[in-house]
């Protein structure tokens, strides 16, 4: 009889990970739980960075860095990653993906039953890769989640759900949780000519408010993007390559090569949120004309990247600021975001330069 692994009880299924970050007295952020199982790997590090000044009045704790890794730097068909993270009150967590973009590899409907023709439709659909992230953010805690974009390869199928739960019982504004979440997806390997050639990419970001017991939940924000080539199961079973192309996703994302969303909430990111709102509202009017002269249009006054990136920022309900953007390629979007974060400075101030690792 094989010896039972002592770690088996910690994580039930492959791909699952669990992280709990607690602030031990006097002010010592500690990961009281850090478990993971293949193909997921989690690494944590506490750099020496201490925020010198903060938007919060409470004593600020050192940010802890968590690296989300997968073997091979991406997800294969059928891989299912599920990460649960808990931020206890007053802690700060930075989550990045040091392996670069999350690559979503190709799904082959017949891959797992080679030689066996005509798999059931249910099988064809189960070949998705999935990633679930579930984060609970306590009082005065802050999450800074600025990962690399997701790069879905040709013919891949992928689904991700990211749920962030904040403490809904807090009355005082400055005691709220804070979060900054970036979620972006590219057209695929542009260098290999891929242009939105995947089958499915479905991303959902939800923010819920709940009390400490997890009851009395209320949906505060749901940002859901479905890029579906709308192939039916019959097409997937068919090995004929020509049937796999509908160009539907390309048509629906044109003219962009990368689209993304940035969600900001809470006192720490309030300045960044106002900065982005100002940046958006001060964009030049579209189609503005200079009536005083014969000049056909107002001269371009926007910064270099603002002219290339199409974005919209909105103060939606419950104090959230939602930034949506589309850019012709990954580099443009990355430089634009990077410039914006560095110019404003909140993220580097509160979390250190390394929080912008992916940008």
């Amino acid at each position: 009889m094989p010896i039972k692994s002592p770690f088996e009880g910690c994580v039930a299924k492959p791909g699952q990970g669990n992280v709990v970050l607690t602030l031990l007295p006097p002010s010592n952020p500690t990961l009281t739980t850090l478990t993971y199982k293949y193909p997921l790997k989690l690494l944590a590090r506490t750099p020496g960075y201490v925020p010198q000044s903060s938007a919060l009045s409470c004593p600020t704790s050192r940010p802890v860095h968590l690296y989300l890794l997968t073997y091979g730097g991406g997800l294969l068909p059928g891989d299912h990653i599920a990460v649960t993270i808990t931020l206890e009150p007053q802690t700060r967590l930075v989550v990045t993906t040091p392996q670069g973009s999350t690559k979503i590899y190709k799904t082959e409907p017949n891959a797992s039953i080679k030689g066996h023709r005509g798999p059931s439709p249910a099988h064809a659909l189960s070949d998705k890769s999935r990633q679930n992230v579930d984060v609970r953010i306590g009082r005065e805690a802050a999450l800074c989640y600025l990962p690399d974009p997701s790069v879905p390869y040709k013919d891949s199928r992928y689904e991700q759900t990211q749920i962030f739960t904040i403490d809904g019982t807090i009355q005082k504004d400055t005691h709220r949780s804070s979060l900054c979440v970036l979620d972006w997806v590219t057209q695929g390997r542009a260098s290999r000519g891929e242009n939105w050639d995947f089958h499915l990419w479905r991303g959902k970001n939800e923010i819920w408010s709940a009390d400490e017991t997890g009851a009395k939940k209320l949906l505060l924000l749901r940002d859901s993007l479905i890029l579906d080539s709308e192939l039916d199961e019959g097409c997937l079973e068919n090995a004929d390559e020509t049937l796999h192309r509908t160009n539907l996703i390309r048509e629906r994302t044109r003219p962009h090569g990368v689209v993304g969303t940035l969600i900001l909430y809470g006192p720490i990111f309030e300045h960044l949120a106002s900065f982005i709102m100002d940046r958006y509202t001060s964009l030049p009017r579209i189609g503005a004309r200079n009536w005083s002269s014969s000049a056909p249009a107002v001269e371009e006054t926007t910064s270099h990247y603002d002219a290339k990136v199409t974005f919209t920022a909105s103060r939606v309900r419950a104090g959230f600021v939602l930034l949506k953007f589309g850019a012709p390629d990954f580099e443009t979007a990355k430089n634009w975001l990077s410039d914006m974060f560095r110019e404003e400075g909140t993220v580097t101030n509160e979390f250190g330069e390394e929080a912008l690792f992916c940008l």
């Binding site: 479905i226 909105s314 309900r317």
Partner: protein, 310 residues
């Protein structure tokens, strides 16, 4: 195949309605021609309360562009789309560019709103939570404003106009007793929601009921005895009408051309196909399928001159 199914269902329904109309007409003829000892034939056969209201009538009212919802004020991003795609690349005519927008707009409207219309129709009592979830899922304030303005207008029309007929006598709204009970419950749900809406303005976190269009549309249609497939179809058709009407006023095409698009088989198939696709979609899985549309709608605020509100 699915389109064919829904077409069959509709055909069956039309057939059913027509036969009922014939039946009612023959009964009317019978009662009005029966002489009653020299007395004048009674002009109206029997008291209107005992006759169930015809759902077709409600359907025609709800699909009328004169329904005062103010839908004409919204172009659903068309105006902004035109401004963002100016000048057009060579070889693209304004009409092809518009058709692309119409396709995208219908796909997007179906994927974001139809699950809410259907869910509200299937369970009118969940109106308040659907309203909250749709509010949470609408990413830009321009789209939010448009949806809320039309939703509140629909409540207004219900309260000031439709309610007197459809809620006064709860037994009249459906052909059978069970459907009447459902209609009455839906009417009560609208009333409850309307009360909550009127008393919810002082909430500090602004998370009270908002009055989004899609779920309210579903519930009002239940209260008026319109079945679920027609509810979704008219919702989508009204959206297409609003976009086309905006196109006419934005000088993209003329009124006859717009009617031709509205009447076309392609549009009918597209609407039916999109509804079929979202038929089983849970509201949790509703989402945007056209990401640039969020950008266009959101950036409507940045237009130097605008003739529409969205």
């Amino acid at each position: 195949m699915t389109n064919k199914n829904s077409a069959q269902v509709l055909e069956h329904e039309i057939h059913d309605l027509e036969s009922r109309l014939r039946d009612a007409k023959s009964r009317l003829a019978l009662t009005s021609t029966t002489p009653k000892d020299g007395a004048k034939p009674s002009p109206i056969p029997h008291d209107p309360i005992s006759t169930p209201l015809d759902p077709t009538h409600a359907l025609l009212l709800l699909s009328d562009t004169a329904l005062p919802l103010g839908s004409f004020a919204y172009s659903s991003g068309l105006e902004s789309y035109l401004a963002h795609n100016k000048p057009l690349p060579p070889g693209i005519t304004p009409t092809t560019s518009f058709h692309r927008f119409l396709n995208l707009s219908i796909a997007s409207m179906a994927s974001t709103s139809i699950p809410y219309v259907l869910a509200a129709h299937r369970d009118p009592s969940s109106l308040e939570s659907l309203d909250n979830d749709l509010d949470a899922s609408t990413p830009c304030i321009v789209a939010q404003r448009a949806s809320i303005a039309q939703g509140r207008a629909l409540i207004g029309v219900w309260e000031r106009a439709f309610r007197t007929t459809y809620a006064a006598d709860p037994l009249s709204a459906g052909p059978s007793a069970s459907s009447s009970a459902v209609a009455a419950a839906a009417a009560a749900s609208v009333e409850r929601f309307s009360d909550a809406l009127k008393s919810g303005f002082d909430r500090a976190d602004q998370l009270g009921p908002k009055g989004h269009f899609a779920p309210l549309w579903g519930v009002v249609c239940v209260a008026m005895g319109v079945d679920v497939r027609q509810t979704a179809y008219v919702f989508m058709l009204n959206h297409a009408k609003a976009v086309l009407s905006a196109a006419v006023r934005a000088s993209v095409m003329g009124p006859y051309q717009a009617q031709r698009v509205l009447a076309s088989k392609e549009l009918q198939d597209m609407i039916a196909g999109r509804i079929e696709r979202e038929w089983e979609t849970a509201v949790e899985d509703a989402g945007q399928v056209v990401p640039p549309l969020d950008l266009w709608v959101g950036r409507h605020e940045l237009l130097y001159s605008r003739i529409f509100n969205s």
